[in-house]
Symmetry: C2
Subunit: 350 residues, 2 copies
């Protein structure tokens, strides 16, 4: 019996056991000891529980080996560091594809299964742009926004990770089998569920905590008020990840969840730059600079609001001529009002 | 020579003079004294300046009387209190229609002249709903979002005010002549510019400070990054008014200005409720309550996070059966995770 099978046996206990297992595992207790204690505590009337668990664990590891699936127990150096920090980390991750993908900085893009054309276009665009910057795009392989995000990352020649609510060899939805294969070429399809596990509704909220647990930030696109994406967002906040949201049409009702996140302080996402900036990976490119030789603008210094008299003195223009020019500069975004009738140059260098 | 003509003469000086006039007027100085001092100071070489000003002022008041236009000087009880508090209040407001409309709580809706179908639909919807709640809708009678807001308020049988960048008897854009007439039936068309003044580009940024100065909150719909609506928003912030913004499509580029406002802390608007709530005029209606007799939910109290053991004890359900129910409640928005594997009931009464 290997340590792997202990971790797999632990993972075959109901999910609430993982919360109980995390602290002892972090304290260095052996997974086999934890399994036996939990079983003795919660299934005292089932003397065969342990042997059944281990038989299922052995079957799962055999099935994984036969299907060329990797098993990454919590103790494995390949186990993603970020995921290990959540309150209830999966004891084992099963993976199809390249487990090296789990080590790169990543962002989750999640949203409606019934995403509008708009949501799909945004998901694909963001994923393509993130992937092109070397950010791994994590999502749930679901219909709609999730698969658009995966496809976008692939279109950007990037790496993407799909986290399933079934075993990695049980494709759901079935029509995404080809997409999963494409993902596994340079990325990975992963799950905490042993190979062969069919999808069940209650696996998906659990799966969402892995999506958020893997990443530094979760981007929500088109989530209804009771969407699973909001659960992912809530998990992300609980796990200390950043939550960002893409705004959209307020009349369709499709964006209420994303807008509620924005109302609660999520960062607004218009482009991949917003996400990269949040991750500290890139600054927003500067606005184009204003014309260099404006007689009024050149007399103004960013951070130094001046009243009309002072600007008139400096520029040699009368107040009567000055005001239309200042309004023009204001309209062009080069000058703004600073209160009390003063004007200040807008700093274009920061 | 009446006090009105002093105020009109003051208004005929260039706009930067109003900043200089505000403090003395607030200190109780007579407008005629201020006019003569400003003229002596800034036009010392034009001995006829004063008499020319007063001749124009008299002509303007005659023209207003002939056109049944009201002149509301700063000293008039009908002058809007809020507008009188801005740094550079207009010395005189000219109005066509019902000046009583200036006394009601009001909100500005402003946005792109080339508004998309979406922007026009949102502007109209918000204005209709605000007007139906007794809120006066203020805008600039421009093409696009402005006129959609006016039309929406009229459709809600409400009151709306148009602030022009020309004299109130010089319609711009000309095709909005009929709309202006409809507005004046229960609302008002107003301007700080003397009757007969043709529209000029630099009047519009000045006009925007009146729009924001009249209202308690400015709602921006579809503003580009250099849009005049952003100037209105900036005036509003300078004047201590609330700024709210409607989000939209991030791919079109049309909403960059509104999204920038949201990024800077503007409140997000999905419906008139958001605006009314900001004004303290109405609470957001409660979400529908959850089912009353859920065996798990009934054991939970808002504000009291519990772990699985405690919920199992209270509900009499095993942890194994509990988790799927908790996830279901979570998906239905009735329960949320509270960190450390605990769950808490969401308060639906506040």
């Amino acid at each position: 019996m290997t340590a792997l099978e202990d971790f797999v046996a632990l993972s075959l206990l109901p999910p609430w056991c993982w919360l109980r297992a995390a602290a002892p595992l972090r304290a260095g207790e052996q997974p086999g000891v934890i399994v036996r204690r939990l079983v003795a505590e919660h299934w005292p009337d089932e003397p065969a529980k342990c042997s059944t668990l281990y038989a299922r664990a052995a079957a799962a590891t055999r099935r994984a080996a036969a299907g060329h699936l990797a098993a990454i127990p919590w103790s494995d150096p390949a186990y993603p560091v970020a995921l290990g920090t959540i309150p209830d980390p999966p004891p084992v991750l099963w993976a199809s594809g390249c487990i090296g993908a789990l080590a790169s900085p990543s962002v989750a893009i999640v949203g409606s299964r019934a995403g509008s054309e708009y949501a799909l276009a945004v998901a694909e665009r963001l994923a393509t742009d993130l992937a092109a910057c070397g950010v791994v795009v994590v999502s749930g392989l679901a219909r709609g926004v999730d698969s658009a995000a995966h496809r976008g990352a692939l279109a950007g020649n990037g790496v993407t990770i799909a986290v399933l609510g079934s075993g990695v060899d049980v494709m759901y939805p079935p029509e995404h089998d080809g997409l999963a294969r494409d993902i596994a070429v340079r990325g990975a399809v992963i799950s905490e569920l042993v190979p062969g596990t069919p999808p069940q509704p209650h696996f998906f909220p659990l799966r969402n905590r892995i999506i958020s647990g893997l990443v530094r930030a979760v981007v929500v696109i088109e989530a209804g008020v009771r969407s699973g994406s909001l659960i992912t967002a809530r998990c992300a906040l609980e796990q200390g990840r950043d939550v960002l949201a893409v705004p959209g049409n307020v009349l369709s009702g499709r964006n209420r969840g994303a807008h509620a996140l924005l109302r609660d302080g999520a960062r607004i996402v218009e482009s991949a730059d917003d996400i990269l900036e949040e991750l500290g990976m890139s600054g927003r490119p500067d606005q184009p600079a204003g014309p260099a030789a404006d007689p009024v603008l050149d007399r103004l210094t960013p951070g130094e609001p001046l009243d009309l008299d002072a600007i008139a003195d400096r520029s040699g223009l009368s107040a009567v001529r000055l005001l239309p020019r200042l309004f023009d500069l204001e309209l062009r975004g080069l000058v703004r009002r600073a209160g009390g009738g003063r004007f200040v140059r807008i700093d274009r260098t920061c």
